[in-house]
């Protein structure tokens, strides 16, 4: 083996070892390109997804912004209407303010007049108070007089009560007397007249009313019972016939007899015959007064 070959073998070995060391070092320290590529791909996909989401968000934000812009425009239009209304109200309020100011001025004048009127009213009130004081004194005096009058009135009312009691007793006695008088006069064809007060209101002297008055009842004889001395007349209690009344029976201006009523019906009455001059017949006239 020649020397050159040996030298080449040694050099080849050295350079081989050196080159292998460089290659191993490089390969050991080299970056994993696949992993890097995968990572970049994932990052790219994530970035694309984020971009799409951002675009969607942007579109949504644009829509929302448009919606808000439309809302704001609607609100602005509404606010413009409100502003116009408020301006109209402001104008009306200003007019009212002017009117109210005018009213205030008028009211000031009225208040001044009222103050003047109040002063005059105060004067009148003072005068009225003086009059009230005078009237109060009069009222006190009249109250005393009224108390005295009440006392006298109570005494008079006691007297009036006594007089009414006496009057009631007299009326009862008068009614009893009238009843007795009527019973007495009835058999003579008369009734007690209504008593008139002796003292008239006019104060003029009046003659006293007659005590008795005529009854003036006229009837016909409708039935005769000579055997029992009874006769029936054509009127009864409806015409005013009462028991014990006496009817005079006549025939052609001739006295026939008397009939004293015993029983009275509504439209007929029956009586006993008295002082018979001639026998009575049906159709004879009968009257309480001749």
């Amino acid at each position: 083996m020649s020397t050159l070959t040996k030298v080449l073998i040694v050099l080849l070995t050295v350079f081989s070892i050196f080159l292998c060391g460089i290659v191993v070092t490089y390969v050991a320290n080299a970056t994993n390109q696949k992993e890097r590529a995968d990572k970049l791909d994932r990052d790219w996909r994530a970035a694309r997804t984020a971009r799409e989401a951002a675009q969607n968000d942007l579109a949504a934000a644009k829509d929302q912004a448009d919606q808000m812009r439309r809302d704001i425009e609607a609100q602005m239009s509404g606010l413009k209407v409100t502003i116009s209304d408020l301006e109209a109200k402001l104008a009306s309020v200003q007019r009212e303010n002017t009117q109210m100011a005018q009213r205030v001025r008028d009211m000031g004048a009225s208040v001044q007049q009222a103050n003047e009127l109040q002063s005059s009213q105060m004067q009148l009130a003072q005068v009225a108070q003086q009059q009230v004081a005078a009237l109060e004194a009069d009222r006190t005096r009249l109250s005393k007089e009224l108390a005295e009058t009440d006392h006298a009135l109570m005494e008079k009312m006691a007297i009036v009560a006594q007089l009414e009691e006496k009057t009631r007793q007299l009326i009862e006695a008068n009614q009893d007397l009238e009843m007795r008088l009527s019973q007495y006069l009835r058999q003579y064809g008369k009734a007690a007249a209504t008593p008139a007060p002796v003292t008239q209101r006019t104060g003029l002297v009046q003659p006293a009313a007659p005590v008795a008055r005529d009854i003036n009842l006229n009837a016909r004889v409708t039935a005769v019972d000579i055997r029992n001395a009874l006769a029936e007349l054509s009127i009864g209690s409806a015409a005013g016939v009462r028991p014990d009344m006496r009817f005079h029976v006549t025939r052609d201006q001739q006295f026939v007899c008397d009939v004293r009523i015993l029983e009275v019906g509504p439209d007929q009455s029956v009586g006993i015959l008295e002082r018979i001059q001639v026998p009575p017949r049906i159709g004879d006239a009968a009257a309480t007064n001749l």
Partner: protein, 51 residues
């Protein structure tokens, strides 16, 4: 008395030494190639093709 060997003869390196050196070099290259192949297969899933 035994005679001394002659030192005048030139020392000769056996040729097996260079064979060993070549074997070392070959082993280094082979190990490097295996390491590179393992790295490629572990990282890219293939040795020669594109992933």
């Amino acid at each position: 008395m035994s005679p001394m060997p002659q030192r005048s003869a030139k020392i000769a390196v056996p040729s097996n030494l260079y064979t060993a050196i070549l074997a070392v070099a070959f082993g280094a290259v082979l190990a490097t190639a295996a390491f590179v192949a393992i790295q490629c297969y572990s990282q890219y899933g293939t040795i020669f093709g594109m992933p």
